[in-house]
Symmetry: C2
Subunit: 216 residues, 2 copies
Amino acid sequence: MARTTGSDGGRTEAAVREAAVNLIARYGYEAMSMRQLAAEVGVQAAALYRYFPTKEDLLFTLMRDHMQGLREAWEHSRPAGADPARQLAAYVRNHIAFHIERRHATHVSNMELRSLSPDRLTQILRMRTAYEKELRAVLRDGVEAGIFNIEDTGLTAMALIQMMTGVIVWFRPGERLSLAEVTATYLSMTMRLVGANIGVGTGEERHVHEHAQLRA
Amino acid sequence: MARTTGSDGGRTEAAVREAAVNLIARYGYEAMSMRQLAAEVGVQAAALYRYFPTKEDLLFTLMRDHMQGLREAWEHSRPAGADPARQLAAYVRNHIAFHIERRHATHVSNMELRSLSPDRLTQILRMRTAYEKELRAVLRDGVEAGIFNIEDTGLTAMALIQMMTGVIVWFRPGERLSLAEVTATYLSMTMRLVGANIGVGTGEERHVHEHAQLRA
DNA sequence: AGAATAATAAAACAAACGTTCAATTAATTC
DNA sequence: GAATTAATTGAACGTTTGTTTTATTATTCT
């Protein structure tokens, strides 16, 4: 047999991407075979090579698109011209929302870096560094404006990102806490971490506090 | 050929463990072949099976020993009977020191969980959960004693652990900051995060502040 | 309707995989 | 010094891997 009725390149490629993200997140890039992926899509392994020349190309494409999506999400959600506290709050909200919406893709982008060739690894890391740089800039602005009290901007940025990204490890929708509650708590922890004056800028603090009271 | 002169089971096994940790951390468990590991040790692949019946047994052994080491390190360094702030400081110091001393083993234990069989995965996760529980207990004690101000103990514990473990991702000895400086800064961030009264308990705050001044 | 193109299947490739087995030599025990 | 045990080699096993090639069918274009 050959071309099947109703087959469509666009749909197949999208199906391959989605299945690949799920399989790689679950079993790992090396552990996922092209045949396994093809079977998940409902196609023969050879068909995959019409869309991605090699297995590594597939991985790289997934990662690149994920990082580009993250940068675009931040650019769309950042409140231009707002004070640093609001900017930081927007960064935290965007980061958590984006990563929870795409848990599997995030897992892939964070865990499978070592399967990339050196130059592709560099490309992805560059995108990640650029994104982290945005956070450092916000923190610096806040320090210069006297709103934040931070010992080491670089360290604080890394700590914040690790803390926020860590949410995807344990958060499961529909369990004890809602996404809104988790986000609120992380916002409050973030503001403590950067030494922001409580009640300044985010418009979230009272709200957070009420939730805290309910859970106490 | 067969047994080589000067060969020793104990030494070989130790060499296998060490090489395996390094190779798995660098290339991933699935990507590391038994032949590659054997070559690193300077032995034929078949020789590995004298010490570990399967590749997965090797992985599991590495992880189990790492988690046991972590628990033992905490038990030895915990200041029994001290106030919660000192306990928390000890937890942070031990966690960071242990994980930086064994960056590769930590990487393996955190990244290769999905390569374990279900029951072995459960065993490792149980050990990890028990360790995290210790932190939650310290936080709870601090809240009850009125020393800490925490919205959600569980969330704060996870945030702290992610934040601390994240150090191994970017920290490299001999770069901008020393381990002591990093630890001091993380201690201070931890105390902010749990809402500890500044200057209480840890005996580190003034020291931290001096470093901050130097870097500013 | 016929020609061109897009999408797939089926089969095959060499290479690499984890693992096993029998043979062989070094060290230890008696 | 002979017998036993410990440590390792070298070769082989059957699978599975990513990928390529060729053929075949569905769709689109003229």
